[in-house]
């Protein structure tokens, strides 16, 4: 299989099974892009997430474009982005045109609740495995915890949190 086709199929799978926002993509990207295909390292991927957080647009699209470019250039970025959008496009159109009451079907609601619980578990597992990879010195752990606190308790904007972390890195982690 050619690289572009594999990239397309991987991101189509990621788009099809992402439930509940950008971070729900993390476990899928980790599996497909890092573990299975070895296209990126965890550190490279986290850099991409950081850039995706700091730039406009949905995180899912930003990650797909960036990963696609790193793997196969401009064509790769187009293919990955198209792949991640296509399942949404088809599924939402079908729902919009045919099953307006889709959301109210008892089994859809029940399945969706089950999936949400699993997504929380999957993101927790991804945080654990990424964390092991990223935290080498005590300052890393401190930055992580402070960022968590600033975002969770004080609801600071990600842009400011990441900006401060970058400054800390520049001063103490060079």
């Amino acid at each position: 299989m050619t690289l572009l086709l594999r990239l397309f199929l991987s991101f189509m799978e990621i788009g099809m099974f992402t439930f509940g926002g950008g971070y729900a993509m993390l476990p899928l990207i980790q599996r497909e892009i890092i573990d299975v295909n070895g296209w990126l390292t965890m550190e490279q991927f986290l850099d991409i997430v950081a850039v995706a957080e700091m730039t406009p647009g949905p995180i899912a699209i930003n990650s797909a474009t960036f990963v696609g470019y790193r793997v196969a250039g401009v064509l790769g970025s187009l293919v990955a982005t198209f792949g991640v959008v296509l399942p949404s496009f088809v599924i939402v159109l079908i729902i919009a045109a045919l099953f307006k009451r889709f959301k109210y079907l008892a089994s859809v609601q029940a399945a969706s609740k089950g999936i949400r619980s699993a997504v929380v578990a999957l993101i927790a597992l991804a945080v654990w495995s990424f964390g092991k990879e990223v935290i080498h010195v005590p300052l890393h752990a401190i930055i992580g915890l402070v960022a968590f606190a600033l975002s969770h308790f004080l609801r600071w904007h990600p842009l400011i949190v990441l900006g401060l972390a970058g400054l800390t890195g520049l001063l103490f982690l060079g």
């Binding site: 971070y23 982005t81 959008v85 945080v127 520049l170």
Partner: protein, 199 residues
């Protein structure tokens, strides 16, 4: 003849959709959920393409369907306003700013990432990204794990994921099945369906 062809496709409306979602995509930092207020302002208040209630409906559905919420809602809104071509114009508008901005950054990133100052910055940023994801995890967890059954499904999937090296898709499918078996609230749903039929 040519007049009829023109009236078949409302190019003005399609480009309006494209540029509206282009603006939304270009000016919101922080992902899909950060976009919702802007999408609401542009499509409900300014352009009045849909009403408040239908907007809430569309967002609810965009969260249930797979994929990014920003993409799903742009497809649905585009379709509601101008059919399948509306959906294509809206989603393209949403994607294009990200694509161009990220491509530009990616091209320079390759060059800059070897500079030691840039390396130092990212050494600081990476653990902060973990902190942000952890904060998002708490937020999602709080809204999702509201009852005992949801919590048990969470714990079981966490254990399965930690012990066995399973593909996330498999875990999602198992959880969907578990949800259908254990979280099916039939009475409540019948009531809601009746309400929908009335409306």
């Amino acid at each position: 003849m040519s007049r009829k062809v023109q009236s078949d496709i409302n190019w003005h409306l399609l480009w309006d959709l494209f540029f509206t979602f282009l603006r939304i995509g270009a000016f919101t930092i922080g992902g899909g959920y950060a976009m919702l207020p802007l999408i609401q302002k542009e499509t409900v208040e300014k352009k009045q393409w849909v009403g408040e209630e239908e907007f809430a409906e569309i967002i609810g559905l965009s969260q249930t369907a797979p994929g990014a919420i920003a993409i799903n809602s742009s497809v649905y809104l585009g379709f509601r306003v101008a059919g399948v071509s509306g959906a294509i114009f809206a989603v393209t508008g949403m994607v294009v700013p990200s694509l161009l901005i990220i491509l530009t950054i990616a091209v320079f990133f390759e060059r800059f990432s070897t500079i030691s100052a840039v390396k130092a910055i990212f050494n600081g940023v990476r653990p902060a990204v973990m902190g942000l994801i952890l904060a998002a995890l708490f937020k999602i967890g709080k809204s999702v794990l509201k009852n005992m059954t949801s919590f048990i499904i969470f714990v079981v999937m966490l254990l399965i994921g930690a012990i066995f090296d399973l593909h996330p898709v498999l875990i999602i499918l198992m959880a969907a099945l578990a949800g259908i078996i254990f979280l099916n609230d039939k009475n409540k749903n019948k009531k809601e369906e009746k309400e929908v039929e009335k409306a």
